[in-house]
Subunit: 240 residues, 2 copies
DNA sequence: GCAAAAGTGTTCGCTCTACACCCATGG
DNA sequence: CCATGGGTGTAGAGCGAACACTTTTGC
């Protein structure tokens, strides 16, 4: 795009001087294990929040979109790319950041805690997974951001097949049901849950079963993305 | 919030110098009349888009949130406040604005075209309503923004009772049905539509009927917001 | 053989869908 | 009395909810 006329070209300069605003992204990185839904947090070193935890975020660089910034933050901290991410909402309260005007774009992402060894790979000595239910306060307005993203996650979990993104590539039906129950905070009927999934035809058995369990071993399944996309051109509802 | 340490305080200054970014809002203002769903547009005077129409937008001021900026834009152009508005999505492509980096937050709002006399009241000589179906291109990336907001509107129209916000305060069931059909692009069964609304119990008859029509006059209804809020603590689906 | 979790069918009520005729008014 | 849109009921199919017992494995 051409930057043409000089007098128009002063426009952005004026804006930068008059309206000093920084733009950041904040990532609510959800993970899941058998103890519940977790969020990846880091200690905050900025006054007055020195003793609080905060979400992972950064200023948006001049040569990247906010989506790219969010992926960059995630990659830098975890070494993971190709991760499901969704833009949620802008937070722009005037005093949300102690150092001045920072408008932030929030994202949530879903990653598999187990099966990813990033915990050892990156400079994440201070990163920690914290159970969502145990998070009472965070630095800045990050608690509100987290709650907003959690609501969005719950809504999307009911409308789209994204729950699998929190589980290992191969899982049992019971694991999947427990995930839904924990994230949505509801109890589900085992038979109804299985019938619904079986009807959707988006899970495929691997042929394998659990090993080394002291009870009847459960069959293992994987989510068939191709099958889903062919079958659900116009989306569907989980209706859970 | 305290701006404390000097060395930390330089942080935002550095950011402003290094990451020159402006933040704007763009409003997709939907209106509706019997000819269809419309969007309020204004001619663009910025090269290279001089002959195109654009959405209504503005830079976010230092003393306002993006929500407030969106309401300000709407009020300044139409004289209307207390209007339904919803934040939709951030657009941040690097070259979306010819004068430099402008990250924009998109909103849509719903207003009643008839029954509002703002067309004469404000400096809107150049504002125009344009049918959504007739909009093929807009300045900047505004067509994409409009399409995104339209999708969001359609989704919300199915999940929440917001259709009334596009109609006069008092309307017939046929008007309401036609609105749904036009915005969603589907045909609805008259009897099923009426049964569903009657079951929801959120429309109340005014007791009046249409006047001066050369056929049986239709009863007039209004949307009872209070009734809805009491009845639907956890929301509901229109399921259309 | 016992503990522990896996796996499996049926009934009931509700909601969605499809569909056709009489009614009230103005001219 | 005719033209125009307003207004109404019913039957069938599909979906969600509730509910209990048998199976397979490890120890």
């Amino acid at each position: 795009m051409a930057k043409t006329e000089g007098n128009i070209n002063t426009w952005l300069d004026q804006i930068h001087n008059k309206y000093k605003t920084a733009v950041s992204v904040d990532c609510v990185i959800f993970g899941y294990d058998e103890t519940g839904l977790k969020v990846l947090l880091i200690p905050c070193d900025m006054p007055p929040f020195e003793n609080k935890l905060s979400l992972l975020g950064d200023i948006v660089h001049p040569n990247e979109t906010t989506d790219q910034a969010a992926h960059r933050v995630l990659y830098k901290r975890t070494g993971l790319d190709d991760i499901y991410m969704e833009q949620v909402q802008v937070f722009s309260d005037l005093n949300r950041h102690p150092l001045g005007r920072v408008i932030t774009v929030s994202y949530y992402s879903l990653i598999k805690i187990n099966g990813n060894s990033f915990m050892e790979l990156k400079d994440n000595h201070s990163l920690q997974w914290k159970n969502v239910s145990e998070i009472n306060e965070l630095a800045f307005d990050h608690k509100i951001i987290m709650d907003t993203c959690l609501e969005r996650l719950r809504k999307n979990l009911r409308e789209h097949p994204i729950g699998f993104k929190l589980l290992p590539p191969v899982f049992t039906l019971q694991q999947l049901q427990t995930l839904y129950e924990m994230v949505l905070g509801v109890e589900l009927d085992k038979r109804n849950f299985r019938r619904k999934l079986s009807h959707l035809q988006i899970l495929k058995p691997t042929g394998d079963s659990q090993k080394d369990v002291s009870h009847r071993p459960a069959k293992l399944y994987y989510f068939d993305q191709m099958e889903y996309e062919e079958r659900n051109i116009n989306g569907f509802s989980f209706g859970l």
